[in-house]
Amino acid sequence: MRITVISPERAIYDGDATAVRAPAYDGLVGILPGHAPFVTLLGEGVLTVENGGERHEFQVRQGFLQVVEGVVRVVAEHAEKSKA
């Protein structure tokens, strides 16, 4: 599936993923390929994107996550890539 991480200023990340873990308002949610259409609010925390062996982490705060037709969009008011 595809994932894009978007902040008001720009799209921070756009790529493929085999698994996504996101900090929803009430705890972590995991998204795997084939997930049903879904919208949830985000809290504050670390968003993890796994793609095979690769792994990216982002610090996100406020916003929401949308899953639709195999695309995950993380839209956060504040989002930046965590230092590896």
Binding site: R10, V29, F38, T40, V75
Partner: protein, 287 residues
């Protein structure tokens, strides 16, 4: 003799001016590039927001959300936010924005609505103060690089007053960035919200409820519209300045060509005259 010295002085002066406008043109070009990138980069965020709101919105919501209230179109108090640049030398850019804002203000007032003005950018603020109009707020510190925080600082107080019923509409006059050559002054109604409804509804799983999600997302949507207006105005300013400075540079070049021609003709005339005088003098001595 005196005339050609005068011409040399003018050529020099126009050359100096051309140097300056040329440099300003290049500075504007490089800033334009970055500002334009920011406009493009801000697009996906706005699109996803509109998409999700359209997917969740239903007409019954307006009664439960003060942010969605739809006051009658022809009464009450309007906040008009107008954007201009902090700096000049960008052609008709600011004049056009000011005219648009003023026309709108007069139009609203002629329909009996109260208008309060919120100025962003030194040029517009200066104008409205000059004609003796009071401004409800004025900001000159948002320069070249507006951030979402700037947008939030401007819109948040207005949003709260709108929800409280103190304001009935918020409109923005800004320079839309179609491309560097086309930056028309544009009016946008931010509140009451015009809900994006041009998308097919999707049956989402929602956590928490649609109500809660909208409550969180609608302010983001409002804020983002303000942010985009700021970013587009910044990019438009550089586009307008580049165009203005390019034509100033071209005009200076034409003027230099013309002055050089005039100067060379004067010089030639003087030489011819001197030769004629020498020949005439020699002829006279021969007697």
């Amino acid at each position: 003799m005196a005339k050609s010295r005068e011409l040399r002085r003018r050529i020099k002066s126009v050359e100096n001016t051309r140097q300056i406008t040329k440099t300003m043109e290049m500075v504007a070009t490089s800033r334009l590039k970055r500002a334009q990138d920011r406009v493009v980069a801000a697009r996906p965020y706005a699109e996803v927001l509109a998409d999700v709101i359209a997917g969740l919105y239903e007409p019954g919501l307006a009664e439960r959300f003060p942010i969605l209230r739809q006051p009658g179109a022809d009464r009450g108090r309007v906040a008009l936010v107008f954007m201009t640049s902090n700096r000049g030398l960008c052609g008709g850019f600011n004049a056009n924005l000011i005219r648009e804002a003023q026309d709108r203000m007069l139009e609203l007032e002629s329909r009996g609505r109260e208008v309060e003005l919120h100025g962003i950018g030194r040029k517009g603020i200066g104008y409205f103060r000059y004609i003796g109009r009071e401004l409800a707020s004025a900001r000159q510190d948002i320069g070249d690089h507006p951030t979402p925080e700037h947008a939030s600082e401007v819109i948040q107080p207005l949003l709260e007053r709108f929800e409280g019923g103190e304001l009935d509409a918020v409109e923005v006059v800004f320079a839309k960035f179609n491309n560097p050559l086309s930056t028309p002054p544009t009016r946008l109604t931010i509140l009451p919200i015009v809900t994006p409804t041009d998308r097919l509804p999707v049956n989402y799983l929602l956590r928490p409820s649609a109500d809660e999600i909208l409550r969180a997302i609608l302010p983001m949507y409002i804020q983002n519209q303000m942010y985009r207006a700021l970013v587009e105005t910044a990019a438009s300013e550089h586009g307008a300045r580049r165009t203005a400075m390019k034509s100033a540079t071209d005009n200076a070049g034409d003027m230099i060509d013309y002055l050089r021609r005039t100067y060379n003709r004067a010089r030639q005339a003087q030489i011819t005259q001197e030769i004629a005088e020498i020949v005439g003098g020699a002829e006279a001595l021969k007697g």
